[in-house]
């Protein structure tokens, strides 16, 4: 240790003090069989800013929840300040000086900032909240850590940036020494991000330790002392930030994808089916989620969108399918405008949609399989006869779909909830493929389903495209995008960073650089290829 003054933050301390948090050989298997962590070793040194990066589904959040006591590891050990701990709940973790700020804030919207901060540890007198004291304490802690808040504002009325500061203060008020921030910048504007970073630096100056999850490599370089990269449930490596380059991190994050073999005949590109022009979207909080996105999709091709989740793909799909209004721009299907139309109007323009989250909007679980199969067509012939729905036709159609798409069920009148995940997805695929679409928008079509169903869905997608349907494929599974797509566009922070007309010859590392915003094609070059 250098003589005099406080030791430099970060990895140098490793040699003299045990890490403040150490995880050894952590395995986590969820009850549904998902293995989120596979033998992770992870350590954080006191007084450092430690960045944890990786794509969605890499197991970052699970790992942090284990530290925070929200999840119990299936195997492995947790040490805090050198002592092994078994947290039964986040309460235990809080008592051990660990605080966590989640992606979705957990504040009481109708309470004031001060009330939220002291909630659970309120200064009271005769069982009543001492309001003045709560406000004073809030002001004091807010000044101490340089996190500006208005103690008397109602949480419902304050912006996202301030809500986040309230969450951080709440953790600090409970005596947190170690602060875990789960994707803190995902909801912030660039200015707010800068404010957050300076607050984090201030916290560390005052002896706190900060772990933050992100998948923005720029932020890693900007604020962290050390960085750990996770991929597919494993910690790939930890290194001092100054030794890391964005390229090396990107390589660690994306890794080498195992491409599956998909038999697909060469694409015969037909006429232009969809045309998207200068599409922009600013969300409710003022964040620019999509910025001047333009592209075309042609009959008989699969256009894949490659990008880390959260870079505008979800919103793009929702806008193109009528579930979300756009801020500006245009989108045409066969020359007919589809922007800011209702989902029914979009569907009538021969667009079908496999949604990203089948349980949220792809299916009605308690309704029968048959009824789930007709949501886009119950109102027209042959399903509607006169004033009523012809349930004989519905049942026949159901039986036929069950057979054709191999949905494993004894009876189409059973609720969808009785099916396995893969079979649920087949119900969606059956519905969306049998509506005779000219444009098929498939978002995460194989997420969370078993190998057999995955293969089936992929084959069906390729077959549709070979039959002349235009397909827009959005997937967080880079291997899937690369092996299915004929053409790929990379997106980063709501902008297209690259267009690759020949998906097959593209290297995943090269693509990763575009997905993480490290490289960008010049506009003129892209224009030709879009």
């Amino acid at each position: 240790m250098p003589a005099g003054g406080k030791p430099p933050a970060g990895y140098l301390m490793e040699v003299c003090v045990p890490p403040i948090i150490e995880l050894k050989d952590i395995y986590k298997i969820y009850p549904n069989g998902v293995m989120a962590n596979k033998g992770v070793d992870f350590s954080v040194n006191a007084g450092e800013i430690h960045a944890l990066v990786g794509e969605n589904g890499a197991g970052k959040s699970t790992l942090m929840k284990i530290i925070y006591g929200m999840e119990k590891p299936t195997e492995g050990k947790v040490f805090v300040e050198g002592v092994e701990r078994h947290f039964n709940s986040s309460r235990d973790a809080i008592d051990a000086g660990i605080g966590m700020v989640h992606q979705n804030f957990m504040l009481v919207p109708s309470f004031t900032v001060a009330e939220n901060i002291v909630l659970g540890q309120e200064p009271t007198k005769n069982g009543l909240l001492k309001k003045r004291q709560a406000i004073d304490e809030t002001l004091q802690i807010s000044q101490q850590y340089g996190l500006r808040v208005d103690p008397e504002a109602i949480v419902d009325t304050i912006n996202v940036g301030m809500r986040q500061r309230v969450e951080i203060l709440k953790a600090l008020y409970r005596g947190a020494n170690i602060l875990i921030l789960d994707e803190p910048t995902a909801v912030l504007t660039p200015q707010e991000t800068q404010e957050l970073f300076s607050a984090i630096r201030k916290l560390v100056d005052q002896g706190k330790t900060v772990v933050f999850i992100t998948h923005k490599l720029r932020e890693v370089k900007e604020v962290s002392d050390r960085v750990t990269v996770m991929r597919k449930g494993k910690a790939i490596g930890t290194l001092p930030t100054e030794e890391a380059t964005r390229e090396s991190l990107a390589r660690m994050m994306v890794g080498r994808e195992v491409l599956m073999r998909v038999d697909k005949p060469p694409s015969e590109r037909g006429r232009k089916v969809m045309e998207v022009q200068n599409l922009s979207y600013v969300d409710e909080t003022g964040r620019r989620v999509l910025n001047n996105v333009s592209f075309n999709i042609y009959a008989g091709e699969i256009l894949g969108i490659a990008g880390v989740e959260g870079n505008g793909q979800t919103e793009l799909v929702e806008i193109l399918t009528g579930l979300r209004p756009a801020t500006s721009g245009d989108a045409l299907v066969n020359g007919n405008p589809v922007l800011n139309k209702t989902p029914r109007e979009v569907r009538m323009a021969k667009v079908s949609h496999i949604p990203e989250d089948r349980l949220t909007n792809g299916l009605a679980l308690e309704a029968s399989i048959n009824e789930n199969l007709i949501v886009d067509r119950y109102f027209r012939s042959p399903f509607r006869k006169g004033t009523s729905i012809d349930y004989k036709t519905v049942r026949d159609f159901g039986a036929q779909s069950i057979k054709e798409y191999g949905i494993l069920t004894p009876d189409g009148d059973l609720p969808v909830a009785s099916l396995s995940g893969g079979n649920m997805q087949k119900v969606i695929v059956a519905r969306e493929f049998t509506s005779d679409p000219e444009l098929l928008i498939a978002a995460q079509p194989t997420r969370g389903i078993d190998v057999g169903a995955t293969e089936f869905v992929r084959e069906q997608l390729v077959q549709k495209r070979t039959e002349g349907t235009a397909v827009l494929l959005v997937s967080a599974d880079l291997g899937e995008v690369m092996s299915l797509s004929d053409r790929i566009i990379a997106v980063y922070e709501g902008e297209i960073t690259g267009v690759f007309p020949d998906a097959e010859s593209l290297g995943e590392e090269e693509l990763g650089l575009y997905m993480l915003g490290i490289k960008k094609q010049p506009a003129e070059e892209m224009e030709v290829l879009l």
Partner: protein, 381 residues
């Protein structure tokens, strides 16, 4: 064989309710033991009261008709996973409009009665559409808005009753009795070979043709809910509103219609209060029954076909409680406690956790054998 029968949801549900009723009646008796000097007599009055005299049976059936209509009205909203407390206001206005037509429109019965009923349904539809519109387009909380609209309807009803309908100089807040042309006829047609029954019922237990109308409404509601595109939209909205909008259903329109169609049925229930039960308009005409449709719908699990049976059972309970109160030393309060226990046990989702668990286990077994490829792991997605 028995096991197979037990697997049928209907049989299971029936057994569940039977057991819940048995347990709650037992609890009810224990309470009666504690508060009554003649517990057996009091409880007997409660259990058999509605069947002891024909007029008591008549009261029970008439109440059942109102409860059936209200239960259907609530089920229509509940099915869409919405909530409405607006039946009171819709009934009041339905009673007011149909009552005014019965009293003042000089048409023969054959025209006057249908006109009055249709008017009650129209006003119920319109008044029901209001909270639906507020909910769909302004995102107003439907519990608050329906309650507030009830208050408005109540004042309107009182205003018209007191200042325009009640006879001048009368010292009570009620209209004149409706003329014969404005009262629903007895459910037994006045034909020679049924003369005796007609006489008996019209004198002692005046059950009206609303009985047939209610049965028709039950069937119609079932048909609308399970066989029409509108019913499909309603049920999909209730099952998963995000799925409904994703699939292209106009959810706003569906919400407005859910409330409005529910209002039609409540309006009809209001007409029944005036033209079938009281035969005049009185103050507080809906008191004690306004919110009972919710219990009926809960008991029937929003299934229109089950609604009249739930209404019969619940109506019986109400009638029995009434008779116990009048004929024994058990106070009204205790009667209500017993009634509430029964409802609580029957409607509570997890009343009988043991049975529930066994049912779930059986269901899971079923699923396992069904999804032989990759069971447990994928269960539930």
């Amino acid at each position: 064989m028995i096991r197979k029968l037990y697997m049928k949801p209907f049989v299971r549900e029936f057994l569940r309710i039977l057991l819940a009723i048995t347990i709650s009646l037992g609890l009810g008796f224990i309470i009666t033991l504690l508060v009554s000097d003649d517990p057996v007599g009091a409880y007997q009055a409660f259990l058999t009261g509605p069947l002891t005299r024909i007029n008591r049976t008549g009261e029970w059936i008439k109440e059942t008709i109102t409860l059936t209509l209200l239960g259907l009205s609530v089920a229509l909203v509940f099915k869409a996973n919405l909530f409405s407390l607006g039946q009171e206001g819709q009934m009041l206005l339905g009673a007011l409009v149909s009552g005014s037509i019965s009293l003042f429109v000089p048409l023969p019965a054959i025209l006057r009665i249908p006109l009055a009923l249709i008017a009650a349904m129209v006003v119920g539809y319109l008044f029901g559409a209001l909270p639906g519109y507020l909910k769909a387009h302004l995102n107003a909380n439907e519990i608050v808005s329906t309650l507030m609209l009830n208050a408005i309807a109540l004042r309107l009803y009182d205003y018209f009753l007191i200042f325009h309908i009640k006879p001048e100089g009368a010292g009570y807040n009620a209209s004149d009795f409706f003329p014969k042309e404005g009262i629903l006829p007895t459910f037994i047609p006045n034909v020679p070979f049924l003369a005796e029954a007609y006489e008996l019922f019209s004198r002692r237990a005046n059950i009206t043709i609303m009985l047939y109308i209610a049965i028709a409404v039950v069937i119609l509601t079932w048909y609308v809910m399970y066989r029409t595109p509108y019913g499909y939209e309603l049920r999909m909205l209730g099952a998963n509103s995000k799925f409904a909008s994703y699939g292209g259903i106009n959810t706003k329109k569906t919400i407005v219609l859910a409330f409005a169609v529910s209002g039609i049925v409540s309006g009809l229930a209001g007409a029944h209060l005036g033209m079938g039960i009281h035969e005049k308009l009185i103050a507080n005409i809906t008191i004690g029954i306004a919110f009972e449709g919710i219990v009926v719908a809960l008991l029937a699990r929003n299934n229109p076909i089950a609604v009249p049976f739930a209404a019969l059972a619940y109506g019986y309970l109400r009638a029995g409680a009434d008779i116990m109160e009048r004929t024994s030393d058990v106070s009204r309060e205790m009667v209500l406690v017993i009634q509430a226990i029964i409802i609580l046990l029957v409607t509570a989702e997890r009343v009988l956790p043991i049975i529930q668990q066994r049912v779930n286990a059986a269901r899971a077994n079923n699923n396992l054998s069904m999804n032989s490829e990759k069971p447990a792991l994928e269960e539930g997605g």
